[in-house]
Assembly symmetry: C2
Homo-oligomer: 696 residues x 2
C-alpha cells in the first residue's frame, strides 16, 4: 500500500482544475509515447529511442484498472507488478486457513495459478490524435450545447474504436494539455488475470510506516501475475528480464500510468497550499495520529480496530508533509510567480489573446483571498463528517440532492452515480462503537478548537454538550453502523431521512443546511472561478508554446494514461548526508530488528547464510513519477527490465506540483533482488528461469 496515497480530499477547491503542461527541465516529464523528448534525450544521454524501441516498450507495458502499472516479463503472459497492487486479490483468495497477503503465495505449475476476482489488465494498442474531429464537432458551441456535443463526439469515436468488441477492446478519449489536444487511446483488455507468486507482506512492506516514502529501503514489493485468454497464457511482446539490475549512473526509463499532476498551478495557489492548507491539515492529522496510536496501545482488539485508519492517516501525513517540506525548501513559488507574470505579459501583448484569456492570475488571487476566509471553517466542518457520520451525511445529502432534477444536482449525485453511493452504504464495513466515538469526539473538539467556541456552527453542533458526551450519545444511539439500516433509509429517500429519529441522522440533518450553504459558497465563489482561471492559464500556456514552436519541450499533466519518464540511477543528499543509490541484502539483515515492522519473514531469516550479502536490493533514480506509477518497470536503454518501481522518496511527494532533480527520487526493487529471492528464498526455480529465458 505504500504508493497508493490517500486521496487528497481536503484541497478540493484546488483539485482537478489544472491539467495542462510543464516545460521540461533535465529528466523532468511524463511523456506520451507519441511525443517523446528525443532531442533532450540525445543531448543529455546520447540516446534516441527508435520506433521499434518505443513500440516494444508500449506493447510490453500495461495498466491495472485499480490504479497501478505493470509490465509483461515473459512471452507466456507473465506480468510483474507491485505486491501492494495485488493486495485485494490476495485478500480475496485467502480463507480461514490461508492468509496469502501476510504469508505470500507460491505456485509450482500453471494449475496452481488462481484468478484474481475482478482484476482487469489493459495494454495500450494504438494512439490517435482526434483534436480535429473534436474541434469540428464542438465548433462555436458553448455551455450545455458544448458539453452535449463533446459527449456525442466522444461516444461516437470510442464506439467506432471499440468496433463492437468491447470484450477485447477499450477506448478512452484523453484530454491532454487541458484540451489543447485530444487523443483516442485504444487498449487491448484482458480479464483473466491470475496470481503466480507473491512474497510475504513482511518483505514487500518491510519497515512499514517508518520507512514508507523514505529511503534507504529494503523491500521486495513484488507480485507476479499471468494473463490468460481462452484458458491459456497469452503471448505478447515482453521486456526481457535483466537479472543483473542497473548500475549507478545508468540511463533508465519507467513506463507507467502516473495518476494526476498539477504542474502548472499558479504561484498564489502554491503559496496558499504552503501557508494555509498544508499546515492546517498536517496539524489536524498529527493529533489524530497520536490519538489512534494511543487507542491502539490499549488492547490487541483496539490495535486491530485502529490499524487501517492509522495507516491511512500516517500515509496522508507523509504525503502532506513531504509536499510541504519541498514547498518550503525550494524556490518553486518564486520561480512560478515569474512564469505567471511572463505569461500574463504575453497575453497582454496581443488584443486577441487578451480577449481569449483575460486576467486569469487576478481571478486566482481573488478566489484565494476569499478561500483564506472560508478554508478553515469549511475544513473543520468537513472533518466532522468522517466514519459512520460520513455515511449519514451521504444519506442526508443524497436524499436532498435526489429530490432535485438530475441536471441540477451536484457532481457525485447524478442518477448514473447513485449506484456507487448505494454500494458504499450497503458495504459491510466494520463498525467499532468505541473507535467511532473517540474519532467523532476528537473531530468535534477540533471543530471547536479551529473555529472557536462562540461560532454559531459550534453552538449548533455541540449545544451544551462536551464533545465526548455528544459523540458517545450519538454513536451509542445510532443504528447507522448497520448497512441494512443505511440502505433502508437510502431507499426511503428524503421523506424517510426527514422522518428518522436516529440521533445521528437528527444531528447531521441539523448541520446539513449550514454545511450545504458553506460548500455552495466555496463552489461558486472559490472553486468555479479558480477552475476557470486555471483552464485559461493552461490554454494560454499551450498556445504560447505552440506559437513559439516549443511544443516538443512540453509534456501534458498526468491523466492515468501511459507515459514514459527517463532518468539516472543516482542517490541524493538528505539532511546533509549522502544517500547511496543502492541498498543490498546485508543492509536488509542489518535493518531487521525482529520487532514489527522490522521483523523479516521466517524464510528470509533462514536464507541469510545463502544469499550474497552484496546483492543489490532496492535503488533510486531521478525518474519523474507519481502515484499511479506503482508497478512500473524500470527499463534500460537496451529495452530490458532492470527494476520495479514501488515508491518515491519524501521530496518526490511534491511531484504532483513540480519536479526537482536534486531531491526527487523514484524507488525501485532491483531485478537482481527479484531473481535472488525467487531462486534462493522461495526456491521458485521455474519462475526464475521463465524470467531469464523469456518463456516457460
Amino acid at each position: 500500500m505504500s504508493f497508493k496515497r490517500s486521496p487528497l480530499l481536503l484541497s478540493s477547491a484546488l483539485v482537478g482544475a489544472v491539467a495542462f503542461a510543464g516545460t521540461a527541465h533535465a529528466d523532468e516529464g511524463m511523456w506520451t509515447f507519441d511525443h517523446l523528448p528525443k532531442a533532450a534525450l540525445q543531448k543529455s544521454y546520447g540516446f534516441t529511442p527508435d520506433a521499434s524501441w518505443i513500440q516494444h516498450v508500449v506493447q510490453s507495458s500495461a495498466r491495472l484498472a485499480e490504479g497501478c502499472s505493470a509490465s509483461f516479463v515473459s512471452g507466456d503472459g507473465l506480468v510483474m507488478t507491485n505486491h501492494h497492487c495485488a493486495n485485494s486479490c490476495l485478500a480475496a483468495l485467502s480463507d480461514k486457513d490461508h492468509d496469502y497477503f501476510r504469508d505470500g503465495f507460491t505456485t509450482r505449475d500453471l494449475a496452481d495459478e488462481r484468478q484474481c476476482p475482478g482484476m482487469e489488465l489493459d495494454r495500450l494498442d494504438t494512439m490517435k490524435d482526434v483534436s480535429g474531429p473534436v474541434a469540428d464537432a464542438t465548433k462555436g458551441k458553448q455551455g450545455a450545447a458544448y458539453a452535449a456535443a463533446l459527449q456525442e463526439v466522444e461516444s461516437k469515436l470510442t464506439k467506432d474504436c471499440v468496433g463492437g468488441d468491447d470484450a477485447h477492446w477499450r477506448c478512452d478519449m484523453v484530454s491532454l494539455y487541458h484540451g489543447g489536444q485530444t487523443a483516442l487511446y485504444r487498449y487491448r483488455r484482458y480479464k483473466d488475470v491470475r496470481v503466480v507468486m507473491a512474497p510475504e507482506q513482511g518483505i514487500a512492506f518491510f519497515g512499514g510506516d517508518p520507512d514508507n516514502f523514505d529511503y534507504p529501503r529494503y523491500d521486495i514489493d513484488l507480485s507476479m501475475l499471468r494473463v490468460y485468454e481462452g484458458g491459456k497464457p497469452v503471448h505478447t511482446p515482453y521486456l526481457q528480464f535483466d537479472p543483473a539490475g542497473p548500475k549507478a549512473d545508468d540511463l533508465v526509463f519507467t513506463s507507467g500510468n502516473p495518476g494526476r499532476t498539477q504542474r502548472g498551478l499558479p504561484a498564489a495557489a502554491l503559496a496558499f497550499q504552503r501557508d494555509v492548507i498544508n499546515p492546517t491539515v498536517i496539524a489536524l492529522y498529527s493529533v489524530r495520529e497520536g490519538m489512534l496510536w494511543q487507542y491502539g496501545r490499549e488492547s490487541a482488539e483496539h490495535a486491530k480496530q485502529a490499524e487501517d485508519i492509522l495507516f491511512g492517516v500516517q500515509n496522508a501525513l507523509k504525503s502532506f508533509s513531504g509536499t510541504q517540506s519541498a514547498l518550503q525548501s525550494s524556490d518553486i513559488i518564486a520561480r512560478r510567480a515569474k512564469e505567471d507574470a511572463d505569461l500574463q505579459a504575453w497575453i497582454d501583448a496581443d488584443p486577441a489573446r487578451k480577449s481569449a484569456y483575460g486576467e486569469p492570475f487576478k481571478a486566482v488571487d481573488q478566489a484565494i483571498a476569499l478561500e483564506k476566509d472560508l478554508f478553515t471553517r469549511n475544513l473543520a466542518l468537513s472533518m466532522v463528517f468522517g466514519g459512520a457520520v460520513n455515511n449519514v451525511m451521504a444519506l442526508v445529502e443524497g436524499a436532498n440532492e435526489r429530490s432535485k432534477p438530475d441536471a441540477k444536482r451536484h457532481s457525485g449525485f447524478h442518477d448514473a452515480q447513485l449506484g456507487e453511493i448505494e454500494t458504499a452504504l450497503g458495504a459491510k464495513e466494520p463498525f467499532y462503537p468505541e473507535l467511532e466515538t473517540a474519532l467523532f469526539a476528537l473531530r468535534l473538539t477540533s471543530l471547536r478548537q479551529t473555529i472557536g467556541a462562540d461560532d454559531a456552527l459550534v453552538h449548533l453542533a455541540l449545544g451544551n454538550d462536551a464533545p465526548d458526551e455528544l459523540a458517545a450519545r450519538l454513536i451509542k444511539g445510532t443504528k447507522m453502523g448497520d448497512p441494512a439500516a443505511r440502505l433502508a433509509l437510502w431507499k426511503g429517500g428524503l421523506k424517510a431521512v426527514e422522518a428518522s429519529n436516529d440521533p445521528l441522522v437528527v444531528f447531521v440533518r441539523k448541520l446539513y443546511p449550514s454545511y450545504a450553504a458553506l460548500r455552495e459558497q466555496m463552489r461558486n465563489e472559490v472553486t468555479a472561478p479558480l477552475h476557470k482561471a486555471q483552464g485559461d492559464i493552461a490554454r494560454a500556456r499551450f498556445a504560447q508554446a505552440k506559437a513559439d514552436g516549443r511544443l516538443d519541450t512540453l509534456y501534458p499533466d498526468a491523466t492515468f494514461s501511459p507515459r514514459l519518464s527517463y532518468g539516472t540511477v543516482k542517490g541524493w543528499r538528505k539532511n546533509g548526508v549522502d544517500v547511496a543509490p543502492f541498498t543490498d541484502f546485508a543492509g536488509m539483515y542489518h535493518h531487521a530488528t525482529g520487532s514489527e515492522p522490522f521483523a523479516l519473514p521466517r524464510r528470509w531469516l533462514d536464507a541469510k547464510g545463502e544469499v550474497n550479502p552484496s546483492t543489490h536490493l532496492d535503488f533510486v533514480s531521478t525518474n519523474d513519477i507519481v502515484g499511479g506509477n506503482s508497478g512500473s518497470p524500470v527499463i534500460s536503454r537496451e529495452g530490458k527490465a532492470v527494476g520495479l518501481i514501488f515508491d518515491g522518496n519524501l521530496p518526490s511527494l511534491a511531484g504532483d506540483l513540480y519536479y526537482d532533480i536534486n531531491n526527487n527520487r523514484a524507488v525501485a526493487t532491483d531485478t537482481s533482488a527479484i531473481i535472488t529471492a525467487l531462486k534462493i528464498v522461495y526456491h521458485e526455480d521455474g519462475l526464475a528461469s521463465e524470467l531469464i529465458n523469456g518463456h516457460r
Copy 2:
C-alpha cells in the same frame, strides 16, 4: 496559566542570543521608563507623559519574582495581578478541605489574609546609566579577562547599590541593546505578600484551552494580594482604580515586565524558524497532544494524570502555531532581509565599522546551513529525554559535568547551579508508570520516524526492541521515579552513576556520549557563531542609530525589567470577520454551556439575574506585550487603572519576533468587570470600596 508559556526549550540555538533593538512603528515598543517615545506619543495621541506621570506609574508598578507583573491599587498595599500568577500560592495554602485554586479565596478583614509562601514583590525605585563605569572596567579586555572584569564591576556596582541592606533592596545590572547600554536598576523588595482575594479557576480561566490565546474572551483572571512590612500593610503610591473601564479608541498604557524578545533576528533565522523549527515542533507536539487526549479519555485517573502535561503541550502548540501563522502570513521576513542588507551596506561603507562588525549575516547563513543538517537529529534525540528519563539524563550529565573543574563545565552545571538541580531531583513529583511508558514509547517512535530506522543512534537506543517494549521494560524496572533514589545517585556522583544497574540509567548512560557529542557540535558550530554574529548585528544597529541621532526611536529587547507600552483599545479582523474590542457579561453567559471548560462556577450562575448584561468584561488593545506582562495594569492617560492584562491573541504570539499593529492584541480584564464581580458575585464590598476610594 494562560499567559505563562512553556519555555521554548527547542529552539535553543536561537534562544537568548539577541537582545538588541527594534526601530519602533506606531504603537510598537517596550520602552524603558527613562527613555519613553515622547515625540511619537505626542504625534499619534497628542499626549506627552510628564515626569510626575512617569514617576507615579513606575512607583505604582511591581514585579513578582516568579515571572509576572503587578500594580499597587490602593494606598494600603493592595496589589492587583493575575489569578495565574497566584496559582502556586493558592495551591500551597490549600489543604484537603480547601481547594483555593479551584474554588477561589475570599477574606472579610486583614486577619483573613494569608501569606503566600516564598512570594516576593519588587518595586522599581531608581534607574541609573552605568555604561561609563562598565566600559572603563572592561576596556581593552577580551575573552575570560573580559568576563572576569565584567563580573567584578557588576558585583561592585550592585553591592554599592544595595548598600548592605539586601533585606530591603535588590539591584540588577541590565544589559540593554545587547551591551550598547548598561543600566543599574534598584528595586524595593517586599517579602511578606498575602493573598486577599481570588476568584474560582472556572472564571479566571473560563474557556480553558479552546479559548487560551484567543479572543473574544470572558475571563476574570484576577488575584488581589496585599504587601505587608512589619506586620502592617505598606503605604506606597498606587494607581487609582477607574471602575468605569476604558472606552473604544482610548489611549492606554501597560506597565510591566516583558520577558524576552528577539525583535532583530536576521531574516535567515526567521526563515529557519518558519521553514524548519516550527513545522517540526508543531507536528511532534500535535501527535503528543492526540496521544494525551486519548490517554485522558481512558479513565478518570488517566485524565488526572495527563491533565497538566496535556495543558503544557496545548499551550506550547498554541505558542508555536501562533508564531508560525504570523510568520507565514506576513511579509516580515522579506522586510527583515532588506533591513539586514541595509545594515551590512552601512557596515561595509566604513573600514572601521567593517573591522568592528565584519560580515555577521554571512556568519548567520553559515551557521544555519549547518543547523539545517543537525536540527532534526538534535531535536528528536532531545525529545527522548522527557519525564522520568529527563531526570536520569540530569543525573548522568550532572555526574559527568561535575567531574570537570567548574570553569570547564557547561552552563547549568556550575557549582552555584547544582543546588537547583538537586532540588529538582529531590522534588516529590508524581510518577505514573503507565503515563511515563506511553510518553516514552511515543518519543522513541518519533525518534525513529524522524531520523530513520537505519540511523546508528536509533540502533543504539532501540536495539532490537519495538519502542513500546523498550519503554515498558525500562519504566517498569527503574527506581528513578523515587526522589530518594535519584538523590542517592546524585550524591554518589559519577562513580555511582557508572555503577548503577538501574535499567533506565543504563539506557541513558549508553546514549549519553552521542547526545553530548551532538550538543557539543551544536554549541560550537551553530550556537556560538550565531550568538557572536547576532551580537555584532545588534551592536552595529545600535551604533548606526546613535550615529544617525535616531536612538529615541529605538527600544531595547525585553529583559524582564520594567517597561511601558502604549496603544489603543481596538478590535481587529480575524479570518475575515471583525472582532469587537469589548466582551460583556451577556456574552459570557451565552458562552457558558455547562460542560467543561465552559462551565461557570455556581456563584456566577446564581448572579446571572443581578448583573447588568452589558457590563464590559474583557477588552483588547494594540499594546505591545509578551510573556512576563501577565498581571500588568492597563493605565489610562489620566494615570488610572482601567484593566488587567492577562493574555495576548494568537497573532501576538509572534511578538517575540516582531510587532504587527494590524493583528497583535493584548487581552485584558476590564476594571468594570472586576468591580461588578467583587460587589455582586462575591459580595466583597469592603474590597470594592478600597479600590474605589484608594484606601481601606
